[in-house]
């Protein structure tokens, strides 16, 4: 037990490279996932049937299926249809899907809570639909959705730990290989856990703080 702390201290720095990959994976999933989330948030209520069905499919499967299943689907499944991707790209695709599906609902919630008077106001001013979305509805809706989107980003960062199952050399897989080569499983996983916590706990505080700041005038 008393050998645990020095072990953790020696393993911790060797895992930083893995943490970097985890963070990169989170960043790209958000970068590509959020625009799709926005698109689907309009898609699920769109008049165009094809657009609506496609959006509902991606949102329902993305939210209904575990991220782990999507990861394996992309990694083991896509080669069936003659698409072979590197593990990092396929993990990214799966997490983009998850991100788009969850954020679609969060963004839709934000946009629906924009007061109706705002829309009537922009109508009265003779704004086109595009201008109304761009200047009135989306900025206010995103502001309302921001804290929950930040909360989701933390969960997404944690979900990148599942990418180790498809051989992405991120934090969890680095900890596992350290553990299996030295048989120091416990310190390796505790070190990984501490690194995850060091990012996600302050990030959670930040999202709570943002929520408080944004609801100050309410």
């Amino acid at each position: 037990m008393n050998a645990l702390l020095p072990d953790i201290a020696t393993i911790l720095p060797t895992l930083l490279g893995g943490l970097q990959i985890s963070l990169t994976l989170t960043f790209f999933s958000l970068l590509f996932g959020l625009p799709f989330g926005m698109l689907f948030s309009f898609g699920v209520t769109a008049d165009n049937k094809i657009f609506r069905y496609i959006s509902v499919f991606f949102v329902e499967v993305g939210r209904g299926a575990p991220a782990l299943v999507l990861l394996q689907l992309m990694y083991y499944g896509l080669p069936n249809v003659q698409i072979t991707l590197t593990s990092l790209v396929s993990a990214c695709l799966a997490l983009v899907w998850t991100t788009a599906a969850y954020t679609a609902e969060l963004i839709r919630g934000g946009i629906q809570s924009v007061p109706h008077g705002e829309i009537e106001g922009s109508d009265a001013l003779g704004m086109s639909v595009r201008d109304r979305l761009r200047f009135i509805v989306i900025p206010q809706g995103m502001r309302i959705a921001l804290p929950s989107l930040m909360g989701f980003a933390v969960l997404l960062f944690q979900a990148t730990s599942l990418a180790y199952t498809v051989a992405v050399p991120e934090l969890m897989s680095q900890a596992y290989s350290t553990g299996s080569s030295t048989f120091k499983y416990l310190p390796a996983f505790i070190a990984a856990g501490l690194l995850y916590a060091a990012i996600s706990i302050p990030a959670t505080w930040l999202s709570v703080l943002t929520e408080k700041r944004l609801s100050r005038h309410l």
């Binding site: 209904g64 782990l68 689907l73 083991y76 499944g77 969890m172 995850y196 959670t204």
Partner: protein, 212 residues
């Protein structure tokens, strides 16, 4: 058909892991809520720290710590034990937050009325505050339960033979990955749909009972 059978073999363990983890989480959430409501600053800080740590570390890390790291003498946990305890601990932290919010939403006047009627603390909790808080908590509680059903798939990483584990095995031997995992996804969606409907039904029923 053969594929569906191969995957469905994992169904009982998926349900077992979900139910046991939810049960452990619900029971352990109660002392955590008590800690969060405690007037003692030190107790509050310790509880807050525990909850933040449980939620700040991904479930898969907890499962690995318990499965590979913890040994009592020569005894190691089985994969199922590690999965249920690990997911249960994480669930306790999330459920504690849900319960805390629900208890906080019960109007202060209900406490005052209970003490005015001379109820003991136990009676006030059991008869007045508890039932009202539970009503508020139900939608969030079932939502978390559905989330836990999906999180139970993480148990496959340490070798619990649930749906994802069986799908993985079948995908490897048959080479039909895309179909296998779509079916697995479909099973999770089918499982969570009745839970979602139950949650909405309970919610509207409870709302009717409260709204007068």
């Amino acid at each position: 058909m053969q594929m569906l059978q191969a995957i469905a073999v994992g169904l009982p363990l998926t349900i077992l892991v979900t139910i046991l983890a939810l049960a452990i989480g619900t029971v352990l959430a109660i002392p955590l809520v008590a800690g969060l409501r405690s007037g003692n600053r030190l107790v509050w800080l310790l509880t807050r720290g525990t909850i933040d740590l449980l939620r700040g570390i991904p479930p898969v890390v907890w499962l690995f710590i318990l499965y590979y790291g913890v040994s009592i003498g020569a005894l190691r946990m089985s994969a199922l034990q590690a999965a249920v305890i690990g997911l249960g601990l994480v669930a306790a932290a999330y459920l504690a937050e849900i319960f805390r919010g629900a208890i906080g939403s019960v109007h202060q006047g209900q406490w005052e009325a209970s003490s005015a009627l001379g109820f003991r603390t136990g009676t006030a909790w059991g008869r007045v505050i508890g039932p009202q808080a539970w009503r508020t908590a139900i939608p969030a509680y079932t939502t978390y339960g559905i989330g836990l059903l999906k999180d139970s798939s993480i148990a496959s990483t340490i070798g619990v033979a649930e749906i994802v584990f069986m799908s993985n095995q079948y995908a490897r031997q048959s080479g039909e990955g895309i179909l296998v995992f779509f079916i697995a996804a479909g099973i999770y969606i089918l499982l969570s749909m009745p839970l979602g409907m139950l949650s909405r039904h309970l919610d509207t029923k409870m709302r009717k009972a409260v709204a007068r």
